[in-house]
């Protein structure tokens, strides 16, 4: 397909224009302009379909396209050269991301028209929604890290606004502040990473970074004693840690639940957290070069496990989902760390679909019951049958039950992790990484079904809540998004084989492997031929400059060293079997505890009291950050510094001059009167006189007098010049 700017830019421009129009005129439009936002994102979706279709039907093309759109900044003068070009980068991964973002966002927009109906800030919600989505689309389309950073931060602003959407609540203010500041820590690191890359490559275009890596440009550069590649890779990864809520910056995400539920769906599924993982995937060659993949694997595994344990003890339905998001993001990051590039990206997509559906379903429940507390729910499946079914399918998917999408992607990550931990010839200590992964998988199956059972099964626990809950009927803008998303949780959409590993085939090879064939870690050696071209906006304004290059995809398992074929095979078979057993045992445990009630959950709580306390306090991360680092550390330090500045430095060192002057004044007066009498008109005398006058002003406050003196002094200087010359 011929790509031109007119076939691609609209993907970003439609929602952005919807934002602009709604921001200024939304209130005057019918229905406060919601149709404009929904229509715009749907139009983007249609445009994306075209690109996606091209990539998938064009014999699984692995071309990438770079289009320099715009010369943003040009500071060149003489032999000084500095330019920043903005452009679009499209390859298979972009196409899949775009389809996911626009698709999921369209359904979330549609759902919002039902969920937010009657809210006094209905129009405003769609303004933010449109900006948020367009920023995400811009981020995915960007061809360089700086543009990515721009949209990255704009998304941060949108999440700030959406989390603080109910701004009359004090907690909303706290939550939005916390979300923005925590992610900003990651952002600052990302900026440092960009600076580091820039200092070597000369710009931050993806293709140039890949080319620089393949040409070995990073070698020999150091920053503060560590290699620049490691520094940059670590900093970029910290961006992911912030945005994708990894330990230790995961604290913002649970609080982000203060926003309306559809915005949670957007933040947690399709946009913000996905952006972090997307960044690390794009910069994967840098991560390998900088040798930070071990750190990534550990961060991911720890996050996946810790968040899962916290989710066990939550009673708020949205909080369970929030921690499950953190945990699932941990799996993606783990996947990147162990080199399971393809599966990590696949999990990003499958997770986006089922998590969006879970949040929308939760929204449907909350809107019907007016509570978020699961202990007040129960038995809702009779009242909300469609929501129940949708949520059930998604829960099966996230729990990793075969034939559902979550199994396909998560199993592959775990299989690769197992290989990485056992067979990849590393220290056996690393076996802890797959163990944490499998442990987290077990907990995921358990807590998700606990949520399902508490919400939809059993007897209604709060009669009032149950009575007030209306029977659910088919409503276009409420149930349709749920149905579509729930249908997409089936594994066949992502892989024709049952396990995602190709062992049990259902479809012919091409259809079965489409995801694997399309997505591969960028092989930097294929970018070697790329020549840096000084792009001049003026010359090529009219033509469409497409640079086209080919990179071949790896066969086999992307990223994992394919030398040990047998090891890979074993790891994957063992991993798949273990995943299935673990998932089903998690479900069964939940079933026995919450449906059969063979044992009270309290038994475990009592047995593991210290652990229970740890998890209910979220491992004291928040207490440590806010209670100690912030209140005991930063604020005390700030106050001390401010006191030092105004109370000590300014009052003593600066105002003290007045006192010193006073002494000089007295001394000189004495000197003047007694010794020199009236002849002292030399340099010192003048200076001292000046001090006197200044002091007199200080004491008497006669400002006007001072100006007379100023003029006299100035004239004196001019006069003295005259005298000298």
């Amino acid at each position: 397909m011929e790509y031109t700017i007119s076939t691609i830019a609209p993907i970003f421009i439609f929602p952005f224009m919807a934002f602009v129009v709604n921001a200024f005129f939304g209130r005057k439009l019918p229905r406060q302009g919601d149709w404009l936002s929904v229509g715009a994102i749907f139009a983007s979706f249609l445009y994306t379909l075209r690109i996606f279709g091209d990539f998938i039907f064009n014999k699984f093309s692995t071309d990438y396209y770079v289009h320099k759109v715009f010369n943003w900044i040009d500071l060149s003068y003489g032999d000084q050269f500095f330019k920043i070009d903005l452009g679009i980068y499209i390859d298979n991964m972009t196409a899949i991301m775009l389809l996911m973002v626009t698709g999921v966002a369209t359904l979330i927009h549609l759902f919002s028209t039902w969920y937010m109906k009657g809210d006094e800030r209905y129009g405003k919600f769609f303004v933010y929604l449109s900006l948020f989505t367009s920023a995400m689309l811009g981020l995915v389309l960007a061809d360089n890290l700086l543009l990515l950073f721009v949209f990255w931060e704009i998304m941060g602003f949108c999440s700030y606004s959406l989390i603080g959407f109910y701004y009359e609540k004090e907690e909303a203010g706290n939550a939005s502040l916390k979300a923005f500041m925590t992610t900003r820590i990651g952002d600052v690191f990302l900026l440092l990473g960009i600076l580091g890359i820039w200092s070597v490559v000369g710009n931050v275009n993806y293709v140039d970074i890949y080319a620089a890596i393949s040409q070995g440009l990073f070698e020999g550069h150091t920053v503060m004693g560590i290699s620049l590649a490691s520094f940059a890779a670590f900093c970029v990864f910290m961006g992911t840690v912030g945005k994708s809520a990894q330990v230790p910056l995961q604290v913002w995400l649970p609080d982000a639940m203060m926003g309306p539920t559809p915005c949670s769906a957007l933040i947690h599924a399709a946009t913000m957290v996905a952006a972090g993982v997307y960044l690390s995937l794009r910069m994967y060659p840098l991560m390998e070069l900088g040798e930070v993949t071990h750190i990534i694997a550990y961060v991911g595994a720890i996050t996946a496990f810790l968040a899962a344990t916290i989710a066990l003890v939550q009673t708020d339905i949205k909080a369970v989902l929030a921690f499950s998001t953190i945990s699932q993001l941990g799996y993606m990051v783990l996947g990147i760390g162990v080199g399971s590039y393809n599966a990590a990206f696949m999990h990003l997509i499958t997770h986006a679909v089922f998590k969006a559906c879970l949040f929308l379903s939760a929204g449907s429940v909350i809107h019907s019951t007016h509570t978020q507390e699961m202990p007040e729910m129960g038995g809702l499946r009779k009242k909300l049958p469609i929501t129940f079914l949708a949520m059930l399918l998604c829960t099966l998917a996230i729990a990793g039950i075969p034939i559902f999408s979550g199994f396909v992607s998560k199993d592959r990550i775990l299989g690769d992790a197992l290989y990485w931990g056992l067979y990849a010839g590393q220290n056996k200590v690393h076996f802890i990484v797959p163990m944490l992964g499998f442990g987290g998988a077990f907990l995921t199956a358990f807590y998700m079904f606990r949520m399902m059972f508490l919400t939809f099964f059993g007897e209604p626990k709060d009669k009032e809540v149950y009575e007030h809950c209306h029977h659910e009927h088919f409503e276009f803008n409420r149930t349709l998004p749920l149905i579509i998303l729930a249908a997409l949780t089936l594994g066949v959409f992502y892989s024709g084989s049952l396990t995602g590993q190709g062992e049990i085939k259902i479809f012919p090879r091409a259809a079965q492997e489409w995801f694997k064939i399309l997505v591969a870690a960028p092989e930097v050696k294929n970018f070697e031929s790329y020549t840096k071209e000084k792009f001049d906006f003026a010359d090529t304004r009219e033509e469409k400059v497409w640079e086209k290059a080919h990179y071949h995809h790896q066969s086999g398992y992307a990223g994992v060293n394919p030398d040990n074929e047998e090891g890979i095979h074993h790891a994957h078979i063992n991993g798949a079997v273990a995943s299935v057993i673990i998932a089903f045992s998690g479900v069964l445990l939940a079933f026995f505890l919450y449906i059969r009630r063979l044992m009270s959950p309290d038994f475990f709580v009592n047995m593991l009291k210290p652990l229970h306390r740890l998890t209910t306090h979220r491992y004291y991360f928040d207490d440590f950050y806010i209670g100690i680092l912030l209140k005991k550390g930063l604020l005390v330090f700030n106050n001390a510094l401010a006191f030092l500045d105004m109370g000590i430095y300014d009052r003593i060192a600066i105002d003290g001059w007045a006192k010193v002057n006073n002494w000089i004044y007295r001394a000189s007066k004495w000197f003047d009167d007694v010794i020199v009498d009236s002849i002292a008109v030399d340099g010192t005398g003048t200076a001292v006189n000046l001090f006197n006058l200044v002091l007199r002003v200080l004491q008497s406050g006669k400002i006007q007098f001072y100006f007379v003196v100023l003029i006299v002094v100035l004239s004196g200087y001019i006069w003295s010049l005259n005298f000298i010359s």
Binding site: I73, S76, L192
Partner: protein
């Protein structure tokens, strides 16, 4: 064409005379006369922009103006602009127009107030246009006079202290600068060009020594530091910053806006116009000192801002922090860094002006500025719910100030960091922290003032009226437009900055 600069420079004085001719009781007439004057002046600065040739690196030949003034000392009345001064001149024109509108509510001695404002405007133009060192110094000093009275008469409860402090600090710096000027006068042999800033440039003092206190000193180094002191106090760079919080807190709104928006830039402008080109080798040699001081200003200002309970004081410290970025960018002496620094001067002018104006709008309603009152209760609360228009404009200004991409602050800070990373890596890594703390103090302030239930006190306030929204709109447009597309400003400056860098590159 060469008269254009004279028109820009003297038109505010004409307005001032007109204001003085109006009887003091006709308050409304005085306001309108000032408004018309500042509006025409602003249009004249735009005419300057229209006739500006962006390809010329140095002074614009067709706009320069020169006339003997005190010929026995070769002092000339010599004016000229280049790409570094033009953005500042346009900013001055815009901010004074906006300040006139925002000063509509001033009731105390209106005639003197507006006359002094116009005098201030003329002297600020003079500093940015003067090409004669003596003329520069005269305007630099004359500027203090209206400023002093504006703070001292129309200021807050502690105004005299703040005014004197402001005055003495700046005066201390300028006296030392004056010593430098006189030294240069002798060093050049009291010849034709001894006060000509352009002729002094180019590093002719590198080899010169001066005998003082029994030893030989490098003339260049010694007087680089003399100039440094004069300009650093104005910026203000740590440790010369303590006058700024006092002056800002006590000054009336419009004066705060001018102070932060324009006057601080005179300090960094002085570096770019005088200290760097006249003493290039010393500038290159001591770039790391400037970078370290800039870095300390960024971090120190940000941390101090976080501890403030007075909104104006908080923003005053944020100015210290943001001007530190300018110092960092200048010390980098690279294309990106230097352009970023000049762009940051412009962008900080618009965003900080927005912040001070917004605080002023709020102050007119509440008559206090406490985020948290001294007794521990909230000063405001629920402003977002009660004053939606005000909140939206405040958010734009705040996020421009904390460097959100898409608004003006980001691109200049990014350019500065891109410029400095290769040269002073460790300093960059530390200074980037300023972005983090910068977001923290602003958003924390916002949270405490705007979120939560509407307090009884806040219920009394009206949202912004048409006049207030009217003068905020140009600034909103500026921070958004130059955030998305900064090239119009960068285009003006890049040739002039390029020339300066070419000069400095010889000593690098």
């Amino acid at each position: 064409m060469s008269g254009l600069l004279n028109w820009v420079l003297w038109f505010p004085v004409i307005g001032m005379i007109a204001v003085l001719c109006v009887p003091g009781t006709k308050v409304q007439t005085i306001r309108y006369v000032t408004l018309v004057t500042t509006a025409i002046t602003f249009l004249l600065t735009l005419v300057l922009y229209a006739s500006f040739d962006t390809e010329v690196g140095g002074m614009q030949p067709h706009l320069s103006f020169k006339m003997p003034w005190i010929s026995q000392f070769h002092i000339n009345y010599s004016l000229g602009i280049d790409g570094i001064s033009l953005p500042m001149i346009i900013l001055t024109g815009l901010l004074f127009l906006i300040c006139t509108l925002s000063s509509w509510t001033v009731e105390k001695n209106v005639k003197a107030y507006f006359a002094l404002m116009l005098m201030l405007q003329s002297s600020v133009f003079g500093v940015f246009m003067a090409l004669d060192f003596f003329l520069f110094y005269v305007y630099w000093e004359v500027m203090l006079l209206p400023m002093f009275f504006l703070i001292g008469i129309w200021g807050g409860e502690n105004r005299e202290y703040a005014a004197i402090k402001f005055f003495l600090y700046t005066f201390f710096g300028s006296i030392i600068m004056l010593v430098g000027i006189i030294a240069l006068y002798y060093a050049t042999g009291k010849g034709e060009d001894s006060f000509n800033i352009l002729a002094l440039q180019g590093g002719q003092f590198t080899e010169m020594t001066i005998h003082l206190f029994g030893t030989d000193w490098s003339f260049e180094r010694l007087f680089f530091w003399a100039m440094f002191l004069g300009f650093a106090i104005k910026v203000p760079v740590f440790p010369f910053h303590t006058w700024l919080p006092h002056a800002h807190v006590q000054a009336p709104t419009a004066v705060s806006v001018i102070l932060a928006g324009v006057l601080l830039k005179m300090g960094t402008y002085g570096f770019l116009r005088i200290a760097f080109p006249i003493f290039p080798s010393a500038a290159v040699e001591y770039a790391h000192v400037l970078a370290i001081l800039g870095c300390i200003s960024v971090i120190y200002g940000a941390f101090c801002a976080m501890a403030q309970n007075d909104v104006k004081k908080l923003i005053a410290y944020s100015s210290v922090s943001h001007m530190g970025f300018v110092m960092l960018g200048m010390s980098a002496m690279t294309t990106q860094g230097m352009n970023g620094a000049v762009l940051q001067m412009f962008n900080h002018g618009t965003s900080t002006a927005m912040m001070f104006l917004m605080v002023g709008v709020l102050y007119e309603r509440s008559h206090h500025r406490w985020i948290v009152k001294p007794d521990g209760t909230k000063g405001y609360g629920g402003l977002y719910t009660h004053m939606p228009k005000y909140s939206i404009i405040f958010i734009i200004g705040m996020f421009a100030s904390l460097g959100l991409p898409g608004l003006s602050g980001f691109i200049s800070e990014a350019l500065i960091f891109l410029g400095i990373f290769n040269k002073f890596t460790t300093i960059t890594v530390i200074a980037v922290l300023g972005l983090l703390v910068g977001a923290a103090y602003l958003l924390w302030m916002f949270k405490r003032m705007f979120f939560g239930e509407v307090s009884d006190e806040v219920k009394e306030y009206d949202d912004m009226n048409k006049r207030e929204i009217g003068y905020m709109i140009p600034l909103c447009v500026a921070v958004i437009f130059f955030g998305i597309y900064p090239m119009p400003v960068l285009n003006i400056m890049r040739a002039s900055v390029g020339e300066l860098l070419t000069l400095l590159a010889k000593y690098n």
